[in-house]
Amino acid sequence: VTYDVIVVGAGLGGGAAAASIAEAGRRVLLLDQGGASSAANAPRDHLDPPAAALMGLDGDAFRGRRIHADGSARTLPAGVGGGTFTWGMQAWRFHPDDFRMASRYGTPEGSSLADWPISYDDLEPWYLRAETELGVSGDQTPYAARSGPFPLRAIERGAVGTWLAEGARTLGWSTFTPPLAVNTTPYAGRPACLRCNECLGFTCPVDAKNGSHNTFVPRALATGLVTLRTHAQATQICTDSAGRVTGVEYVADRHRVTASSHTVVVAGGAIETARLLLFTTSRHHPDGIGNHSDNLGRHLQSHTYPVALGILPTNVHNPNRGPGVDIATTSLIHGNAGVIGGAMMANDFVKTPLTHWRIALPPGTARWGLENKQAMRDLYLRTVDVRAPVQEVPTPDNRVALHPSARDPLGLPVASLPGIVHPETLRTAEVIQQRLTDWLSASGAERTWTLPQLSRGLSDWFHQAGTCRMSADPADGVVDPFGRVHGHDNLFIADGSTNVTNGGFNPALTILALALRTANQVVNQLQ
């Protein structure tokens, strides 16, 4: 069988690409190294890691492993839906200036901060389509032009949002309701959100949280043109003697399979995609396919998250209503004096009791005994958490590399993540952390504190981007402005690895918009 397209990875980018391409009448093989689980029937245990148990790695612990320079490691689950299976569903558009960071701020020493080869205006129609096809609720995007409304009304604001709105007003900041990929009314055949308190890190008990697994992948399968293979790990991108891409080799059920296709779309996320391309070598691409300019795997970035917590005078979570994120400000997304960029700032999800005990008790609280128990009882409903994804300044040394010795069960090198966050990122994060504290104080918090440290480590589990950077000039990146690998007209990438910079926002909607745009290019090219 020769497929028109093989898509590697059934997360948000891969699922969207598969649906778009199949709905254009093309035969697609969709591979995912994890399994496919039912969101509604998933276990709801509050002990960690609920997501890992759901997504079907079958205890194959090394498959998604990534190892830092200091030897610490994390293993991520995979599966149909990818991160959107249990995500926090924040579906933000980037700010127009996020696409021109070098023009606005320059390129700091040691960094690879750059402009994108496309603008917000280029992506805007795809943002709107992404919001419509995924199902995003919201009321406004005050920092950027929109060509149409959100498909779903914004989630209703609770008591915490009311307190924080007043505090922001006194600081001169405007606020609005964050865009969330959740059904605030029945949409696309699925019900409205219950406003339950088990959201981030959980599947939705009524399937009102929108992800690839309940939107794009079902759409793709409904065409009858998509073959979904789960527990299928891609082991290389196949090329012919001239170096042209001919398909994908994968292992499923202990069998090694070579599948042929006219086009390949890789959508494994910024770490796994770079890893696959790095260990796909031949005499035409001895350092990995797409690594013609030594950019493959480099510029790994995520978000540095300053967090502030505060205690309000009353029980603002009573009755607590999820998901919890119901107010944001973008007044500090850019233009913070003396630093690069900034961040969207918002309140956080309703915390499970366990998470609250772990991270949200004030400093100095006894860690055990009656005093600790009473603190949980007194403060759980009064504690507010605000946080901000500060966009990281990329560097060529922050990267995905192939580990020299650690191997996965198939004998392939696991990902190694050398590097540390650029100092300019920390300077911005410190400014934003202070402003988060200011927000809580202005909102009436009796006591505020911040989570103790801003990590300089690279993200190995959320918001990863940049490892197959988009560029107009092949010398500056891995893919062209349509996600096509430079020098390979039938190899595309449809995940966060093509992001040149990562915005001061959760990046999923941008990944989706780019994936839809890339899929459109694939379809056009196949015609």
Binding site: N197, W357, R367, G369, R377
Partner: protein, 106 residues
């Protein structure tokens, strides 16, 4: 606390001090002993060290505070795990005001 029957099992006694019973359940009432022993291989050695049965509650707390000041690794792991198991258990939720709001769930 004083109305509770005297503890005999050393782990039970320890749990009574880590998360005591008051108007809501204590850690010793949630049947977490087996899970703790499974996850903390050095737990019994720690219990032997503490010799809890011979101490009054005040002395027990003093003994635990000493371990905390020393950052004794098994004790630190025990404190975290006991609270994780406790707050993951729906029996603890009502007392702090948490509800899932999911039909059929607490």
């Amino acid at each position: 606390v004083t109305n509770l029957p005297p503890a005999v099992d050393p782990l039970d006694a320890l749990l009574r001090r880590l998360i005591p019973s008051d108007e809501s359940v204590g850690a010793n009432e949630l049947g977490m002993g087996e899970e703790l022993r499974r996850r903390l291989p050095h737990l019994d050695r720690l219990l032997e060290q503490l010799d809890f049965q011979t101490l009054s509650p005040v002395e027990q707390d003093a003994s635990l505070s000493r371990l905390e000041r020393q950052s004794e690794p098994t004790f630190e792991a025990l404190v975290a795990l006991v609270h994780e198991l406790y707050y993951a258990n729906p029996a603890s939720w009502q007392s702090i005001g948490y509800t899932t709001r999911i039909p059929g769930r607490p």
